[in-house]
């Protein structure tokens, strides 16, 4: 055949979109480049202004300290003599000073401040205006939208703002009328600023709150450095509005520009690979998902890695060296590795025989046991930790009390102690063995029974068959399950934080969280430790997803698999008793403990003791608005994560299962990577990159929590939907299309109903862990985005154990109920 008559070639030649597409791609690419370039110029402008929020914080710290002293020494005695008007004036002046300290980063303003504080002022309206500006500047996003709209949108918003700004520079200018009147109405609305004022007015009597207040101030302005700088510039008439826009949004511009450029390069590569120049809608979907993952997952991790080795912008191992020679960290590393390894060995050693007994023998009640063990997989680990602390508390632990009675021991503490490394290993095991159990059971149930029968007929006894055929064939799944347990235990925060911290058993995760609480240097240290966790996790991900996946034996036979059931005979009853005993210890006992503790007055005594029973714990916990608020937060965040995650999951499953679009495995890879990354690492990366320094400021908002949940749990939802879709043969859809149905109708009438149970299951699989999440939330919450898991943790460590048990049992009820639905939907066949 001649080349010119090759029909494919002709289509390529005649393709009209070719040139247009290429030009389009190039234009968008250039646009991205331009944005990035302008952004970088804005960044430079910003650096040239020399503004540093860190220095401003320090100025505020210093100022507040000095003012506090001056106040105590000179002003305070006269405080009571002040009229109300004078006091209000003082408040404003203080705020003004704070603003001055912030703006000019003037740490030595103390004396001036004291003088002003003593004198008071005369121009109340103007100072109030400045206060308004300060609070707007500092608290801008927290001022309610309607107020801000009114403030900035009033008739000629820009002019008003400019006027306000000029008042800042030149105090002799009169305050705009609108602002003055608005300022009066706004009193008390800006919580952060008011708190600060309260401190000054009270003369430092609320001194212990100072740190908190300055901290919350910091939190609320974090990431707004660019905007603040731009405001200052414009106020001083240094630059035009256009420049202000550029400076204040420079990092966003850089980010968007880079993403656009990346997308275009990726799209071009895809098109070249596909040899087509028509833009496929599927690619746009891939690009969107990839963008999301790049931004919220890959970029934070990579940035963290860079920061770990370039702590001050230049390559340095000093942080690492300091970190990894500090004895407490070494101890934490050792504990983490020992705990994870021991949990892996113990968990797998429990899970394998359990999976075999439940899946392959005639054990009594095996269906019940199977659901029970799968059910515990989704119980929040910290609830388990709480229960085991109650059971194995060295002094009043229930098991210890029993043991002392049974073995007639003295009343000395012990014999068991949960606040130790072995105690932690035990609790980790009881909560992570289901991971291995589920992985191993699935492999066992999918194994072609004739593989074992072939061994029997070859002369091998059942035991010999188990050892020479079943076990070796299970090895890849066994290792995969074990590794899953290892990494889950190593990156667990809930259990070590509840057991380890009081018992002084530190792990890498608890150390990281502690470091994060210590400001900037702490952040560097946390990064250094997180790198260790990340490397371990990536290594394990590589081993189980790349090396082991190749060795997974596909043994699905043509017949429907009905695993051969081994008769236990005389062992049947003893084995059933053994499994029941295990279930009682691991599932029933902790749950019952949580329940009984929640009704106790004195946790040391039995709930049946006289006057030790109370329902107050329940009523007081669930009557509190804060609890309900947290519960609402958790439900909303989890529902949003699950819904967004499921949309992505459905798109991904369609791309993976129904198309041959090149590049569809890129997001798949990223999603797998995300779920394999330890929670603490994800959260840390997000903290470091999502507070405005790179153009996105979602720090302290619900979005950062939702992004974190999505990165961590998206894969569970996706795998469920993907596997459901893989089981629907494409011919079912094709047949519908041949019958005249459109693609949409086919999705709605055929594919949709078939995979609906899995979609619902996928939703719950993202929802449930997001609902009770603790490790990431601990690092990412703010006062307005507290979740129920966090609230429970605070109750446990700060308030009352019986109350927190009431809350824990409430969470358990919700989770178990959701799990029940999940199991009904999937018949226990969900992916982890």
């Amino acid at each position: 055949m001649k080349r010119s008559t090759d029909p494919r070639r002709n289509i390529l030649k005649r393709e009209p979109a070719k040139l247009v597409t290429r030009i389009g791609l190039a234009v968008i690419f250039l646009l991205g480049a331009l944005m990035a370039y302008m952004g970088i110029r804005g960044q430079n402008e910003f650096s040239a202004s020399g503004f540093s929020s860190e220095r401003a914080y320090q100025a505020i710290y210093a100022l507040s300290g000095q003012v506090s002293d001056a106040w105590k020494n000179s002003v305070q005695p006269d405080l009571n003599a002040l009229t109300e008007q004078e006091r209000a004036l003082l408040d404003s002046t203080m705020a003004d000073l704070l603003r001055d300290a912030w703006e000019n980063q003037n740490a030595g303003a103390g004396e001036e401040a004291a003088r002003l504080a003593a004198e008071g002022g005369e121009r109340k309206g103007e100072i109030t205006g400045k206060l308004l500006y300060t609070t707007y500047l500092v608290n801008g996003p927290k001022v309610s939208t309607s107020d801000r709209k009114e403030l900035l949108g009033a008739k000629d918003g820009k002019a008003l703002r400019l006027q306000l700004l000029q008042c800042m520079i030149d105090e002799s200018l009169p305050l705009p009328k609108e602002a003055a009147s608005l300022a009066e109405g706004l009193t008390g609305k800006e919580r952060q600023a008011m708190l600060l004022q309260a401190f000054f007015v009270s003369g430092g009597s609320a001194g212990s709150d100072l740190t908190d207040n300055v901290n919350s101030l910091k939190k609320s302005v974090r990431g707004k450095e660019h905007q603040l700088t731009a405001f200052r510039m414009i106020a001083r008439s240094e630059v035009s509005w256009g420049w202000q826009l550029l400076v204040s949004n420079s990092s966003t511009a850089v980010l968007l520009g880079i993403i656009l450029m990346l997308d275009m390069v990726l799209l071009t590569l895809l098109m070249m690979a596909e040899k087509t120049w028509i833009v496929d809608f599927k690619w746009i979907m891939i690009l969107l998902i990839v963008d999301f993952l790049l931004l919220f997952q890959l970029f934070p991790s990579v940035y963290m890695l860079i920061r770990a080795f370039f702590p001050e912008g230049t390559f340095s191992l000093s942080t690492m060296q300091r970190l990894y020679t500090y004895s407490m960290n070494l101890e934490a590393l050792k504990n983490t590795l020992i705990a994870a390894f021991a949990t892996m060995i113990l968990g797998t050693a429990i899970a394998f025989p359990l999976a075999w007994l439940v899946g392959r023998t005639d054990l009594y009640g095996k269906k019940f046991f199977r659901s029970l063990f799968i059910l515990t997989y989704m119980v929040p680990p910290y609830v388990g930790a709480m229960a085991w602390l109650r059971l194995m508390n060295p002094n009043v632990g229930t098991i210890n009390q029993w043991l002392r009675v049974i073995f007639r021991l003295s009343d000395a503490p012990g014999p068991l102690n949960a606040y130790t490394l072995p105690g932690m290993i035990w609790v980790l095991t009881t909560f992570y063995y289901p991971y291995a159990f589920i992985t191993i059971s699935r492999a066992m149930e999918k194994m072609d029974p004739s593989l074992e029968e072939a061994s029997r007929i070859s002369g091998a006894s059942p035991v010999k068959t188990l050892l020479t055929v079943t076990l070796p064939m299970m090895t890849p799944s066994l290792i995969a399950g074990a590794l899953l347990v290892f990494i889950s235990a190593a990156s667990c925060y809930g259990i070590p934080s509840i057991i380890g911290i009081p018992g002084n058993v530190n792990t890498v995760t608890t150390r990281i969280v502690e470091y994060v609480g210590q400001g900037q240097t702490g952040m560097n240290d946390a990064t250094g430790l997180a790198v260790f966790l990340m490397v371990v996790a990536l290594l394990i991900l590589f081993v189980s997803d790349v090396l082991l996946a190749k060795r997974q034996y596909i043994t699905v036979s043509g017949k429907s698999v009905r695993p051969a059931i081994v008769e236990l005979r005389s062992w049947r009853i003893p084995m059933t008793i053994l499994v029941s005993l295990f279930a009682v210890i691991v599932v029933v006992l902790p749950f019952v403990t949580i329940l009984t503790t929640s009704f106790k007055v004195d946790i040391g005594k039995s709930v049946f003791d006289a006057s030790n029973f109370t329902t107050t714990n329940w009523t007081s916990v669930f009557a509190r608005a804060e609890t309900i608020g947290c519960l609402k937060n958790s439900l909303i965040f989890a529902a949003v994560s699950a819904t967004v995650g499921l949309v992505i999951a459905c798109v991904m499953s369609y791309l993976l299962q129904r198309t041959r679009v090149r590049g569809r495995s890129i997001p798949n890879f990223l999603i797998t990577l995300g779920s394999g990354t330890p929670s603490v690492v994800i959260a840390l990366g997000l903290i470091m990159t999502m507070r405005g320094n790179f153009g996105i400021n979602i720090y302290n908002t619900a979005y950062i929590l939702i992004a974190a949940y999505l990165v961590k749990y998206l894969m569970m939802g996706m795998r469920t939907v993907v596997s459901a879709m893989s089981q629907i043969h494409v011919s079912l859809e094709e047949c519908s299309q041949v019958s005249g149905a459109s693609w949409l109708t086919t999705m709605r009438r055929i594919t949709g109903p078939l995979i609906f149970p899995s979609i619902a299951a996928g939703w719950f699989l993202i929802f449930i862990p997001s609902f009770y999440e603790l490790s990431m939330t601990t690092l990412l919450y703010s006062s307005t985005t507290k979740t129920i898991g966090l609230q429970l943790y605070e109750y446990w460590t700060l308030t009352s154990q019986p109350m927190s048990c009431a809350m824990a049992f409430g969470i358990l009820l919700i989770v178990v109920f959701l799990n029940f639905i999940l199991n009904r939907l999937t018949r226990g066949e969900f992916s982890i």
């Binding site: 072609d448 593989l451 029968e453 072939a454 029997r456 007929i457 070859s458 091998a460 010999k464 070796p472």
Partner: protein, 357 residues
């Protein structure tokens, strides 16, 4: 080599009786096939012989030894049987050599004996050069031969094959048939073979058991089963057949719906009968008893598959492809029945044929 004696074996799962009163002896060195539609109980019988299922009642002997029955149950590993599974069940974590050597390893045979034996059977199944391969590097047919080699290596007294060829493509299936038969002849082993493919059964078996709904319908040589079926089911299950209702009168069978035409009959039956005629047993002949019109013909090269309208009925006639050139549609034609099978009309024909799956 062993005989297999099955006495009154019945197997039920709950209320579902899958095998009813199986009573038979398989002779030494015999190639026996259990043939039937899926779900007929043939695989269950095989698994009872292997020891993967216990009979609900009845006894099973291999040689003189009672292996299942009453309180006695000898587990599969002690029965000295070779078995090939439908899914081959070749262990993916062992290479070909280790797979085949497994039964000998279990018996703790000396290493060099194992090597000799494995090489011998691998040679028989033509896999000598693949000894070190892993199963996933082999084709379906090769895996199947590994399974066969593994079943043969320990020189068992009895070889059980559970639809071993059903996952292979048509060409390979045909050549494997003869290979298995050759191996059986060479080793003289007793073979019990389960299949739903009648061509396989015909080609290989010394004796075929046709089973339906858990009951043996007929046992016999391929010739007996094909040409002298015991009932309508057997006639229908093997080969192609058309059924006609008729009545025996005066040494002739008057066929319904054929305009009063009849065919000669000298058999013992009287009254209403079912006449089963295989299309290849009808020939075009000027002296034929039946008169009809050639309605359609499908020329397949080696044969010519024709439909002839006789009265109100259509008769299928498969004739030599050579005759195609002398026939044209609409042609009046006479048919001679070379052979027919006549059964008593018990009114159950429809029902019997319906359950063919």
């Amino acid at each position: 080599m062993a005989t297999v004696t099955i006495q009154h074996v019945t197997k039920s799962f709950g209320d579902n009786v899958v095998l009813r009163e199986f009573n038979e002896t398989f002779q030494e060195g015999e190639f026996v096939t259990l043939l039937g539609p899926s779900g007929c109980g043939k695989t269950t019988m095989l698994r009872i012989i292997a020891g993967f299922e216990r009979p609900t009642t009845g006894e099973l002997y291999i040689g003189d030894q009672l292996v299942s029955g009453g309180k006695t149950f000898i587990p599969p590993e002690k029965r000295n049987i070779g078995m090939v599974f439908q899914s081959y069940a070749v262990w993916p974590h062992m290479n070909v050599f280790d797979n085949v050597a497994y039964p000998l390893t279990i018996k703790k045979t000396p290493k060099n004996t194992i090597r000799e034996q494995v090489e011998r059977v691998l040679d028989i199944v033509h896999l000598s050069q693949y000894a070190q391969r892993l199963p996933n590097q082999l084709s379906g047919g090769q895996q199947q031969r590994v399974a066969l080699a593994r079943a043969l290596v320990a020189a068992p007294e009895l070889l059980l094959l559970d639809e071993p060829l059903s996952n292979l493509d048509a060409k390979l299936r045909e050549s494997m048939r003869f290979e298995i038969k050759e191996i059986q002849k060479k080793t003289g082993i007793t073979v019990v073979y389960v299949t739903h493919d009648q061509a396989e059964a015909m080609a290989m078996s010394d004796r075929i058991f046709v089973i339906n709904r858990g009951v043996v319908q007929q046992s016999g040589t391929p010739d007996e089963i094909y040409n002298h079926p015991a009932n309508q089911f057997v006639a229908d299950f093997l080969g192609k057949v058309d059924f006609f209702k008729g009545e025996v009168r005066d040494g002739r069978i008057y066929l319904e719906g054929m305009g009063g035409q009849s065919i000669a009959y000298d058999g013992p039956r009287t009254g209403r009968v079912d006449v089963a005629i295989r299309p290849e047993n009808i020939i075009f002949s000027a002296e034929g008893e039946l008169k009809g019109v050639l309605e359609t013909q499908y020329y397949l090269g080696d044969v010519d598959d024709c439909r002839v309208r006789v009265g109100d009925s259509l008769m299928r006639v498969i004739t030599n492809g050579y005759e195609h050139r002398f026939l044209h549609e609409g042609q009046e034609i006479r048919l001679a029945i070379r052979e027919s099978m006549v059964f008593e009309d018990d009114g159950l024909l429809e029902d019997i044929l319906k359950i063919r799956t």
